[in-house]
Symmetry: C2
Subunit: 344 residues, 2 copies
C-alpha cells in the first residue's frame, strides 16, 4: 500500500507534525530534521493524499473553471469546437501544475432556475481554492453572490467592467477594435463594413464601440447600413457578408467581430464572385486556428486567452500573499495576414 505520513515519520524518527512542517515548508524546522524527513519521503516514495489534506486543512488544491453549459454543448454539437476553452485550459493548467494544483472544468447551467442551488452544491462538495469565471457569464450576479457568500476567491475573465467584486483579467477589446479599424483606414479604406456580435457579450459591445470610435477619429461616419449584427457563428457571418457585399456602393473592407464570422464573410465573397483581398479586404478578431489556415489567411486580433487564464490562475494562487493585485490588463496583438490590403 501507499505510504502515509506516519510511515514517513516512523522512518525518519520524528513526529508526523514535523513531516507535515517539512512538506508545507513551514518555518522553524532545523536543517537536520528537514534532511531526515526528505530522505524518508524519497525512500518511501511518499505522496500526500489530497483528500486528507483538504479535509483537514483550508485548501483543496483545486481550481475550478466555470463554463457555460448550453453554449459549450451547442458548440460541441454543431462541431464548431471551443477554441476559447482549450486555450483557457492550457494557460490555467500550466500554472496549476507548477503550483501542485489541479484544474477542474465545470459546466454550469447559467439559465437554470436551480443555478444557485447547484453552484452551492458544487462549491460545498468540491471546496475549490479559486474559481475562474468565463465570458459571457463573468458578471452573472447570482454566481458572484454565491461565490462571495461561500468566500471563494474568483477571477472574472475578460471582464472590462469593474464591479468591485472579485478579481479580473481582461484585454481592451474596444481599443483593439479601434486599432484594427484604424489599420484598415491606414490602408486607404473609407467604406468599412462591420459585423457585430450579440449585444449580450460585453466584449461584443466594446468591439463595436472601438469601430465607431476609430471611424470618428478619422473623420468618417459610421453608416448604419454598413453595420450588421451577427451571433458569432460562421452562418451569421455569411449572411452578414452577403448583405454588406450587395450594398451599393460596396464596402472595400469588412471587419467582423470574430474569426468565425470573418470566415463566413470570406465564404459569402467567394459565392458572390468577389475576390479577397482583391475585391474586399476582410479581417476578424480572436485569432482562432481557422484564421491561420483559411484562404486567404485572416488578418485578425490575437486575443491572448491562454495568457489571460495563466495570469488569472496566478492571481488566484497568490491572492493570500498579494491581496492588492485584483486586476490585470493583458495586451493583444494585431496579426496582419493576407486577407487585408489597400483597396483595389
Amino acid at each position: 500500500m501507499a505510504a502515509t505520513i506516519y510511515d514517513v515519520a516512523a522512518l525518519a524518527g520524528v513526529s508526523i507534525k514535523s513531516v507535515s512542517r517539512v512538506l508545507n515548508r513551514e518555518p522553524n524546522v532545523s536543517a537536520a530534521l528537514q534532511a531526515k524527513v526528505q530522505a524518508a519521503v524519497v525512500s518511501l516514495d511518499y505522496q500526500p493524499n489530497l483528500s486528507a489534506r483538504s479535509l483537514a486543512g483550508a485548501s483543496s488544491y483545486l481550481i475550478a473553471a466555470f463554463v457555460d453549459a448550453d453554449l459549450t454543448l451547442e458548440h460541441w454539437r454543431s462541431g464548431r469546437g471551443n477554441d476559447y476553452l482549450s486555450r483557457l485550459q492550457f494557460g490555467a493548467l500550466e500554472e496549476c501544475r507548477k503550483a501542485g494544483y489541479h484544474l477542474l472544468v465545470e459546466l454550469v447551467d447559467y439559465g437554470a432556475p436551480s443555478l444557485e442551488a447547484r453552484l452551492v452544491a458544487l462549491l460545498r462538495s468540491l471546496r475549490p481554492d479559486g474559481v475562474l469565471l468565463t465570458p459571457p457569464n463573468a458578471d452573472d450576479p447570482t454566481v458572484l453572490d454565491v461565490l462571495e457568500r461561500t468566500g471563494t476567491p474568483f477571477v472574472r475573465l475578460g471582464a472590462e467592467r469593474d464591479l468591485g467584486r472579485g478579481m479580473r483579467v481582461f484585454m481592451d477589446d474596444r481599443q483593439a477594435a479601434a486599432d484594427m479599424t484604424a489599420h484598415l483606414i491606414g490602408l486607404g479604406h473609407r467604406r468599412i463594413g462591420f459585423v457585430s456580435g450579440p449585444d449580450a457579450y460585453p466584449a461584443s459591445r466594446a468591439r463595436r464601440e472601438g469601430y465607431d470610435q476609430a471611424l470618428q477619429a478619422h473623420g468618417l461616419v459610421a453608416e448604419p447600413d454598413l453595420v450588421v449584427e451577427g451571433d458569432f457563428t460562421f452562418a451569421s457571418g455569411r449572411r452578414a457578408g452577403e448583405a454588406l457585399l450587395t450594398t451599393d456602393p460596396r464596402p472595400s473592407a469588412i471587419f467582423a467581430s470574430n474569426d468565425d464570422m470573418a470566415l463566413g464573410v470570406l465564404n459569402a465573397a467567394a459565392s458572390l464572385g468577389v475576390s479577397a483581398p482583391g475585391g474586399v479586404s476582410v479581417c476578424g478578431f480572436d485569432d482562432t486556428p481557422s484564421a491561420m489556415f483559411s484562404t486567404p489567411p485572416l488578418t485578425t486580433v490575437r486575443q491572448p486567452v491562454a495568457e489571460m487564464a495563466a495570469a488569472a490562475t496566478r492571481m488566484l494562487l497568490e491572492a493570500a500573499r498579494d491581496p492588492d493585485r485584483t486586476v490585470e490588463k493583458i495586451d493583444y496583438i494585431l496579426v496582419e495576414r493576407a486577407s487585408t490590403q489597400p483597396p483595389g
Copy 2:
C-alpha cells in the same frame, strides 16, 4: 457554515450511518427513515463533502484524462488549438456530470525519465476512480504498468490494438480511410494522392493501410510518389500538396490523413493556381471546425471523439457493475462537402 452529516442526522432524528445509507442508496432502509432523511437533506441544503467521502471511502468521484504535455503545449503555442481535447472533454464532462463525478485533465510528460514517479505521485494524491488515456500515448507501457499496479481502471481511447490491458474505445480508422478512398474512386478518380501522418500514431498507420487497401480492391496500384508523409500540421500539408501537385501527371484527387493537412493542400493548390475541387479534389480526416468553414468546405471523415469519450467514461463508471464490457467500437461518418467532385 455548511451543514454536515451530523446536522442532517440530528434534524432527522437518526444516526449518521442512516443518513449515509440513504445518500448512497444502500439497501435495508425503511421508507419512513428514507423520507425523514431526505426531508432533512433538503431543508438543510446539505451537500456531502467530496474530500471526506474519498478519504473515508473507496471512491474519489474523480475521473482523470491524461493528455500529452509536449504535444498539447506545442499545439497551444503554435495557435493550432486542440480540437481533439475539447471534444473529448465535452463527451467525458457530460457523462461525469450525470453521475456526479468530476473530470480532471492532467498534462503528462510522456517522454520524461521521471514519468513513472510523476504518475505514481499523481495517482496516489488524487486517487481517481478511472483514467482516460488519449492517443498517441494510449499504449505507453510505463503508463499501463503504473495504472495496473495502482489498480486504477483505465480506458485507452482510439486504440485499435488489443493489448489485453484495460478497456478501450476506438473507431475503425483503416476502414474509414478505405471508405473515403473508395468514395474518390467512385467519383471517377484514378490517380489519388495521399498525405500520410507520422508513423508514431497507430491511427496514422491504419489510415494509410485503408488507402492502400481500397486502391487494391479496385485494381489500382499505390504509386510510391503519390504518397507523401506529413506530420499532421498545416505546413506539412502545404509542402505535401506542392509536391503532389507538381508530379506529372498530376493526381486528380488528394486524400490527407487529417484536416489540417488537407487545408494545407488546399492552400498549396491555390498558390499553384490549381482550383479546388475543379482542378483537384481534396479531402481530409477528423472533421475539425476548420474543415466546415474552409473554402471550399472539406469532404472529410467525422471522427466522433466526443462520443468515444462519453462511451469511455461510461465504461469507467460502470466497470464495477459490468466488468465484461471492455471494448467498444464507435461509428464514423463520411461527410461529403464541396471539396470533392468527379475529375474535370
